[in-house]
Amino acid sequence: MNAESTHMHEENYLKYQGKFKGLLGWIFSTDHKRIGLLYLYSIAAFFILGAILGLMMKLELIAPGKTIMEAQTYNGIFTLHGITMIFLIVIPGIPAVFGNFLLPIMIGAKDVAFPKLNLASWWVYIFGAIVAVSSQFMGDGPPDTGWTFYAPYSFKTNTNMLPAVLGAFILGFSSVLTGLNFIVTIHRMRAPGMKWLKMPLFPWALYATAWVQLLATPIVAITLLLVVLERTLQIGFFDPALGGDPVLYQHLFWIYSHPAVYIMILPAMGVISEILPTFSQKPIFGYKAVVFSTMLIAFIGYFVWGHHMFTSGLSEVSLVAFSFLTFLVAIPSAIKVFNWVATLYQGSIVLKTPLIWAASFLVVFMIGGLTGLVLGSLATNVHVHDTAFVVAHFHYIIFGGVGFAFFAAIHYWFPKIFGRMYDAKTANTGWGIFFIGFNTLYFPMFYLGIKGMPRRYFDYLPEFHGANILSTFGAIILIIGLTIIISNLIKSARNGEPAEANPWNGVTLEWKVSSPPSLENFEEIPTITKKPYDFTS
């Protein structure tokens, strides 16, 4: 290697000019860091779309009866809100953005195992997103089934279902390819000396997630393909009129879509497991227990899908079995929470923005988790099934859990990714407003659900008015907080103070490389001798 090329590879990845310049240098880049950012920008764009749709739903619900839109428009909006938020944001979410950016660096590698496949995953993602969103503008009106595409309505409705279903099918491929890539990367490319139990916890979480992506996604892929065949050829598997069974659809759908919840939450837990040791300057409590519970959650997560179907007419034996398994999955989740809290205990706590997000993650995740047990027990489930209670529960888990962890992650790794610091004061203010807005928005929905307000209705009885006003008010506060947070990040990415290589005094490998990292991450692949969270030196 001559002097010139040495210099070229030391240049940071944001500045590096490859074969293509400008935008093309990004969308055709096989560098895992650039691909991570491509995902970040596309996911952020879709998130703003999804959030606006959510706000519109809340505005419709500010008063009983028709407020700002027709019932059918509301149906279309909650469907698109669900499809965007689930398939385009939280499922790829943390693995696609932070996994891509950080996994190779954290295990001491120069890139993922298959960089071209990695770029292809992003292209497949964009293609799937275009197909899914195109459903809004073609044919006979936007899809109105909700994101679950339940049979038989999904092939009886005249709305434009095909692109929505095909879009979800295509997005599945992107997810599978990312998972496959990560598994091979972790198996083959760990730095010398990094034995399995010396690997940091975020890569561990990505590893468990990748297996779920790989082994659960194909089930929903084939199911969605069958819905396409139902619509085009009337093949009849899910159509009671032809002798098919709509409950079979629910089984097949949830065999994937429950593990998909773990595709969302496991990486989020991984993020929290990274942040807490750094900001308490102390090794994670019970490293092995956290690793073990991660794998256990991924495994048990496959066997609990029936708890989405407690009112679909399953046999009593399967109801009890599914309920029991659902309680079982709460155990490894609780193990994690206890370990996190124990990590903070007697630590040298530095209360900075990432820790504030991580700590509030614990609060909202606990609320979401405990209300999950209400839904997991048979008797209470029947009472609150398909009510606003369910909506509140999964927003506490998905938006509260995954969303808070995502914001924790972006505030934690921002200096590494962009090489600049953000304005911490504005970031904390944004968090405060967001946190208040979040709880004001979703907490009243628990109450509404218990009182019997069904989900997915654009109208409600007059006695639900008060709590709904509160909830809409919360939505507005949340959007204000979100605006502050996002604009602060955008501004800081451009003009923030230059960041040091290790602003938080972290000990995992990503803090040992420059901020932003050079094109190849490491000049020399490190050799690992110590455990991942060793703060002694």
């Binding site: 599978v176 598994i183 082994l215 065949l229 093949i235 009849g236 598997f237 002798g243 097949l252």
Partner: protein, 200 residues
Amino acid sequence: MTQQIHRDDEGSKLGMWLFIFNELLFFGGLFITYAVFRYVHQEAFHFAAQELDVWLGAANTVILLVSSATIAMSISTIKMGNKKLTLAFLAITLLLAVVFLVNKYFEWGAKIEHGLFPSSAMLAELGAGDTMFYGLYFAMTGLHALHILVGIVLIGIVLLRVKNNKTTKDNHQIQENVGLYWHLVDIIWVFLFPLFYLIA
């Protein structure tokens, strides 16, 4: 940037195996659907299966098994560095795959001619059991045929790579991966054949 080109054959093989797990679960969804409807409509499945041409199905089974053997032999010969034999074995595999699809074409054609296809008036008359049987028959063998088509393209690519000396004695992981894929397609058929043709 020569130092970026690194090869990890083991990693590549691991990736292929993971993809195969993924494919197995993809078909798995259909196998579950089959199990459910076979359980519900046992008698209808029994009689419907008698309508299928066992000999054509058996011929296709033999064709695929032989093609699996030939692609395995092509991998052995590339390892010995025998380009000529490798090309011959790959060409035979390709030919067998095409013959399989031709058989399938006639088989499907005959069923459609008899009015046995999803949403046909004939199936509506025969009832739920037959509707499910033929729905599964077309969905599962159709998805399988699609995999054969993809296989034909992949084997064609490998053939060209061998011809242009891109796949060689020392660099044949792509060929091995295509071989793995082809065995997967083969083994799925080995399960489809008894489930549709031999249950009568």
